[in-house]
């Protein structure tokens, strides 16, 4: 039983979902970890990326590459809309606006009125064909006990490939003078301003780039599932990504990847564990499916609190930095 549990957890930790969350966290890390922007609506970027791609392909019959471009552009537009009113204000205004925007978008896509475009509550299907047609793997079972089929293997490889590529991009950017300005904004934006840096512009660039990375995460997420519904884009997605980022270490290049693997390993392990306990009837009066979801989300909440209080720099975080408490 322990073995099944372990492989369940591992299967999830290296799978495409973990890769998509790693991408969300890479974007969030650019926002929060490097620039100090509080984006509580990363799920909104994920949503526009996923819907932008899926609508282009399944509703308008466009090719996959066009869908990807549309998704990316949608994320750019969303960043501009959100950033313009809030990036000159205190950090918490961006937090409130982004979380609200994520919910607005979800209401809008699930609204009956947008059925023709978004499929309302049913969402969209049949947009992943082009993507899987590119797969070089013949059908079969891969990765031994993890039992990945060919499609899952393909999307997993692409997902982690993108994580690697975009992490490298962030790494290259952060060691340039551009990255230095971003970090100075995180530390004290008035100081950056007093040295002649156009803080608004840098914040906007960071918001856009991180948002686009989040949108790409959304595309990988729905390509892996081969369908999308509005309920995949609940606000909690953002907070999972936050937990991942803080777990791995804010402001570190490898943090999001490490965080995603550890987070999904723990979460899936926990869920399978609870499920087997509940199914065995050891706890009377607690319903099965609900309990698994609820307890694991309580655990995520506690993780977020305890990490933020005890180790705001995360597992990979720099010890030296930890001493200089974030203010």
């Amino acid at each position: 039983m322990i073995e099944t549990l372990f492989f369940d957890a591992l299967r999830s930790a290296v799978g495409p979902t973990a890769a998509s969350y790693a991408l969300l966290a890479v974007g969030l890390n650019l926002h929060f970890g490097y620039t100090g922007l509080l984006n509580f609506g990363q799920v909104g970027f994920m949503l526009v990326g996923a819907y932008g791609m899926a609508i282009t392909v399944s509703v308008f019959g466009g090719p996959l590459w066009l869908g990807v471009i549309v998704g990316v552009l949608a994320a750019v537009v969303l960043s501009l809309l959100l950033g313009a009113p809030t990036l000159r204000l205190r950090a918490d205004y961006l937090a409130i606006t982004t979380i609200a925007a994520g919910e607005i978008l979800r209401f809008l896509v699930r609204n009956t009125g947008s059925d023709a475009l978004t499929g309302s509550v049913f969402g969209l299907r049949q947009f992943a064909g082009d993507f899987y047609a590119l797969s070089p793997f013949p059908p079969g079972d891969y990765l031994g006990p993890l039992r990945f089929n060919a499609n899952r293997l393909w999307v997993t490889l692409v997902g982690w490939g993108l994580v690697t590529l975009l992490s490298l991009l962030v790494w290259a950017l952060m060691r340039s003078p551009w990255g230095r300005v971003l970090r100075s904004i995180r530390e004290d934006e008035d100081a950056a301003r007093s040295l002649g840096k156009n803080v608004f512009l840098f914040k906007m660039q960071s918001l856009i780039l991180g948002g686009v990375i989040g949108a790409i995460g959304g595309m990988v997420f729905v390509l892996a599932l081969q369908n999308l519904t509005p309920e995949m884009f609940l606000p909690q997605v953002t907070f999972f990504a936050f937990a991942i980022m803080i777990l791995g270490g804010t402001g570190t290049v490898l943090g999001p990847t490490l965080g995603a693997v550890v987070f999904w390993f723990l979460l899936t392990g926990l869920q399978s564990g609870i499920r087997s306990v509940v199914d065995s009837g050891a706890i009377p009066g607690v319903a099965g499916g609900q309990a698994v979801g609820a307890v694991s989300l309580i655990a995520v909440g506690l993780l977020l609190m305890v990490l933020m209080i005890r180790r705001p720099q995360g597992v990979l975080g720099n010890r030296e930095e930890l001493r200089l408490d974030v203010s």
């Binding site: 991009l169 290259a172 950017l173 340039s176 003078p177 551009w178 990255g179 230095r180 300005v181 970090r183 100075s184 995180r186 530390e187 004290d188 008035d190 100081a191 950056a192 301003r193 007093s194 040295l195 002649g196 840096k197 156009n198 803080v199 660039q205 780039l209 402001g251 030296e320 930095e321 001493r323 200089l324 203010s327």
Partner: protein, 297 residues
């Protein structure tokens, strides 16, 4: 050179300038006109006319709450006035955002130092340099386009670190510096911008006496060696009289006196402002508290 070693002589450019508020000077770098800013009915700054001389050190004094920092904030674009106009180097600077003010050559420091804690001392300095190609997002990914410039910036930063005796802290996080070292860091960082006017908000506050002398030396060097103009806010009168060429006294937002250090100490308006102010301040606080309790506002 100086007949009275205790007080510096009046520099050439200011000889013959009358010792009165709002007086015109031969070659001002900064000219302020009718500048007003109030917070909820309390006027913080109300400057009729003020000229800051070029190439000299101007001390800005005044009791607590006189509006010195607010004036700094307004002039450097960190706050917006209710009305007023000012020109920097002949160009109107009204409504200019803070970063443009800095790029135009007016760079400030802060009363509460803003060391970028989780960046090294060297990074703090290198950030200061203007016109870096690598700060553009597009070029940031092409290191060969900015590496040479980065090397120049690095050399300049290292020179300044040596000058400000911070070179031994080069790779430490700025958050580990002492209060005095932070003041030095902030001044050095401001110089990386190559400003023509340096605005120092209480550069000596909280600095231990041993360091004060070297800081004073640095401020004088700004004028004597580099030919920059300096405005600084300071509470310690000895310091003000020691290094200023000209002193402006602010009280309740207004310029109440101007003159060379030798004249300002004896100015009755200044003495009155300081003595009256401590008294006033306490009375004002009492009054505010009473009002607050009555109206709950």
């Amino acid at each position: 050179m100086s007949p009275d070693p205790a007080l510096p002589t009046i520099p050439e450019g200011l000889r013959g300038v009358a010792h009165e508020p709002g007086v015109a000077k031969p070659d001002p770098i900064l000219v302020v006109d009718g500048l007003r800013r109030s917070f909820g009915g309390v006027t913080a700054v109300d400057v009729e006319h003020l000229e800051i001389p070029r190439g000299l050190i101007t001390g800005l004094i005044g009791p607590n709450g006189a509006g010195k920092t607010t004036l700094f904030n307004l002039l450097t674009g960190f706050d917006t006035p209710d009305e007023g106009d000012w020109t920097f180097d002949g160009t109107s600077a009204v409504g200019t955002s803070a970063y443009r003010v800095a790029r135009a050559g007016m760079v400030r420091t802060f009363q509460l130092t803003k060391a970028l804690s989780r960046m090294t001392v060297l990074e703090n300095l290198m950030l200061g340099a203007s016109g870096q190609h690598g700060e553009r997002m597009r070029t940031a990914l092409l290191p060969w386009r900015w590496r040479a410039q980065e090397q120049e910036v690095l050399e300049r930063a290292e020179e300044l670190l040596v000058r400000f005796r911070l070179d031994h802290m080069r790779d430490q996080y700025a958050g580990t510096l002492s209060g005095g070292q932070r003041k030095l860091l902030e001044m050095a960082r401001a110089l990386m911008v190559e400003p023509s006017l340096v605005m120092l908000d209480e550069p000596m506050a909280g600095v231990n006496p041993a360091l004060t002398q070297s800081l004073l030396g640095h401020v004088k060097d700004l004028r004597d060696v580099e030919g920059r103009s300096v405005v600084f806010v300071e509470h310690d009168m000895d310091v003000v009289f020691d290094i200023s060429d000209w002193v402006v006294c602010l009280a309740q937002g207004r310029v109440i006196a101007e003159g060379p250090p030798s004249a300002i100490g004896a100015d009755p308006a200044v003495v009155d402002a300081y003595l009256g102010a401590t008294h006033d301040h306490r009375a004002l606080r009492e009054e505010r508290r009473r009002r607050r309790e009555e109206s709950g506002a």
